[in-house]
Assembly symmetry: C2
Homo-oligomer: 485 residues x 2
């Protein structure tokens, strides 16, 4: 029986090529692509600080400009590469100084390279048998992160993002509050969840997913610097208990999405203990400050958490996604997530088969990039990186405060700087800057007022970049009509 | 104010370097890493077919051999690269002929390269503002995939794996069966879910997560070729209705995990309609056959599905993870997953802001790799690829049937070949082959019997590779003691 070569280049016959020719052609194609990667990567990096093409802010115009259509026939490699180049050139770079829009930005080169290399073996992180050394890399990271968090006995899992990490945390808490719910289903238990009015939207979303209902979430007011008001929390807890509702989980946000504020974890932990509630710390944004002794006080009390979400893809600059959930007591993840799967879990101790502790089945390798960046920087390098982010935020705030046309809303609690342009609507400014391809920046609401949010998460920004960002905003202010600020 | 360079190379002073020097050093480091990627990738590819190092099958020995520890001080780039190389060399490659263990394997070079390139802009796929052209790439894929599935009006989302795609499907079905559950929580509704005894473990796992309870899952017996028994399903549905239990979802598996069997979707769809149940098709493994006219009959009826899970990272050979959930009617995803998030969704139509339709918040780009591979192969290339996988399975089955020492359990329903070595325990064989570093292959249970499962998902295997695989298994049979087969 002759084997059939499955994917001939256009000029050749599609059938019955001998095996060795097939292997050679596949090797040649692999080499073509491997050579193309750094070349195109360099091009993209070289242009990433340029303004976007006019019109690319409009999806209809952009789609008509690009050749995105898929069809019946394949293309030769150079044609595919040309389309890839066009699509990537019309993609914002989160390492540009013009991208201060999201809670991630900048790149650690070691992390970037390791993420590219993880694609070569392309393993799934459920078992040691399937992923070998990568499982040990991941375990070392979990141990090291747990030590830094003061949760030395913790277990943990990598998750596809902070929302899913929070989902798993809430699941564990639900299953402790209602131990039969995993098997028998929820039966109208009266459980409540507490998070601040400025906490992440994934808390109510996840309550909806887990069958607890979004109405079970109590939004606790914040104080004037954006932290959960402990007195207001105590009152809500007492009210619920009086009504026969059981407090299941208190969510402490370590780095709120808009302002970057940190809830007072230790005070929340005391209330959690008093009410028998689970304490979750959502440090998706700010969890990394455990690596920064000078800022550690912000997250004081995290060592009392039952679960702790920490996204290295934010302040630590490794590629999306890299999120970790640490769980204070071993066994909780298995109890809520494990299933018998003989075809999958076939050898080795459970400790090196993290599929038992994951909400996923197949799971990509999100560990190698973080490990490589950590080797490169060491704990001290992370500390410096985070201090740099805080310093950039302070510097930006000082520049804003010094300009009478701008208004600093508050001294930045961490790395987000909230401010306004006097006499201009923040949303209108953001839209104009995006539409014109000048700057990606977002707005949020602080104390009922719509403000610009400058996220200083990219430590490679220089003072001159901050000046350029503020200049873009001033130029936008001249271009958009006056309006309520 | 002078800016501080944050990450000096060891010999240099850590403080107060001028900006331009900092930029230059960062550019130099980026270039070092970019140059290292293809070089190390080539090394890894060159060695991926070699047997594993003796002892690497033991996690304790492997950990003691590798330098995995993280610490306070950073390392210079060459030292990090050396450790990366060691860890990657001790990682199985899913493109090796020795890796026939999982439902993925092999690589499409265009997909691999595009995955590497997506790391450069490193965007999050929630909004057009943040991800630009990548959102349009993803939308084109969803449209094209929906057309192939016969679900022309579908919406969809990319998910981190098939388990999460199935989770979202079950969530949508739950929220249709119990419309108030998202806000008010589940209140002891009596809902039931039906899946075959050979369906994936994520179905009960997800029922546990969503508050329905694992006990709500009915495991329907299969026929002698591994498909759900339609008569048995009808009986369970009738029993449940008679007891006042509402059938919420019927899961049709398109490609079971062990045998690769396809449930009779059309018959299940008729019962779903009769009982008002949601029809989900779990095509994580076999969904790709919609691209293969010669095999399309296996998945006949998928166009009747309410939701359809399809993992291109399996039969289509793009890197982990690439999973899609298609949803027949627009609006369902938003209804179950959207939250107000003013700071995030600031511009453009919802259609190009897929964050409204995702279970995640931040979400990595899993689309570009599939788009690049699709451009390269075209629909026809996928068809050839899938035919090749089926042909390899038939060829392996013929070789097994021709060897009196081996026993073919059944003609392969699709690309998994289940067989046994006469007089040998399949688990013992798999363990020996893994421990000795010869072959990654798994076992499963078919009709109460433990069998070897050879997954023919890597189309780059040649006939000589199949011969080598079977030779490894014969060698293992000589090495392990006789035992129940």
């Amino acid at each position: 029986m002759t084997t059939v070569d499955r994917r001939p280049d256009p000029p050749e016959s599609p059938s019955e090529a001998p095996s060795e020719a097939g292997r050679e052609r596949r090797a040649r194609e692999l080499e073509e692509w491997l050579a193309a990667v750094p070349a195109l990567a360099r091009e993209l990096v070289a242009q990433e600080n340029a303004p976007a093409e006019a019109g690319d802010g409009d999806p209809v115009r952009l789609e008509s400009r690009l050749e995105l259509r898929l069809g019946a026939d394949g293309l030769a490699t150079p044609a595919v590469l040309a389309r890839l180049r066009s699509a990537l050139a019309a993609t914002p770079s989160s390492s540009s100084w013009r991208f201060v829009n999201q809670l991630f930005g900048g790149r650690e080169p070691a992390g970037m390279a390791a993420e590219m290399l993880a694609v070569v073996p392309n393993v799934s992180m459920y078992t040691f048998k399937a992923a070998g050394a990568q499982i040990l890399v991941e375990r070392e990271l979990l141990r090291h992160m747990a030590r830094h968090a003061g949760l030395a006995d913790a277990e943990g899992c990598f998750t596809p993002g902070g929302s899913i990490a929070n989902l798993v945390a809430l699941l564990l808490a639900r299953n402790v509050a209602s131990p039969e719910s995993r098997d028998r289903g929820l039966g109208g238990e009266r459980l409540a969840i507490y998070t601040s009015a400025e906490g992440h939207y994934s808390i109510p979303k996840n309550a909806g997913i887990l069958g607890l209902g979004r109405d079970s979430v109590r939004r606790v007011p914040t104080d004037d610097v954006g932290r959960m008001d402990v007195g207001a929390l105590a009152q809500k807890l007492a009210e619920d208990r009086a009504r026969g509702v059981r407090p299941a989980l208190i969510n402490a946000t370590a780095g709120t999405t808009v302002r970057g504020a940190f809830d007072p974890i230790r005070a929340l932990a005391a209330l959690a203990r008093e009410y028998g509630a689970w304490l979750h710390v959502d440090g998706a944004l700010g969890g990394s400050v455990v690596l920064c002794p000078a800022r550690r006080e912000l997250i004081d009390g995290v060592e009392l958490a039952d679960t702790f979400t920490w996204n290295p893809h934010k302040m630590m600059g490794v590629p999306l996604q890299c999120s970790v959930l640490l769980v204070a007591r071993r066994g909780e993840l298995t109890r809520s997530l494990d299933e018998t799967a003989e075809y999958l879990f076939q050898s080795h101790e459970d400790d090196v088969n993290p599929g038992h502790r994951s909400i996923q089945c197949g799971r990509r390798n999100d560990a190698l990039k973080l490990w490589a960046a950590w080797l490169r920087l060491g704990d001290r390098g992370w500390d410096e990186r985070i201090q740099r982010q805080f310093a950039l935020a302070r510097l930006a705030a000082a520049k804003i405060a010094a300009d009478p046309a701008l208004e600093l809303i508050e001294p930045p609690p961490s790395i987000n700087v909230c401010f306004a342009v006097r006499g201009r609507d923040s949303a209108a400014l953001c839209d104009w800057l995006d539409r014109e391809g000048r700057l990606k920046i977002g707005y949020g609401t602080v104390a009922g007022r719509r403000v610009l949010r400058l996220v200083c998460v990219n430590p490679d920004l220089e003072e001159s970049d901050l000046d350029a960002i503020l200049d873009e905003i001033r130029a936008a202010a001249s271009a958009v009509p006056a309006g309520g600020d």
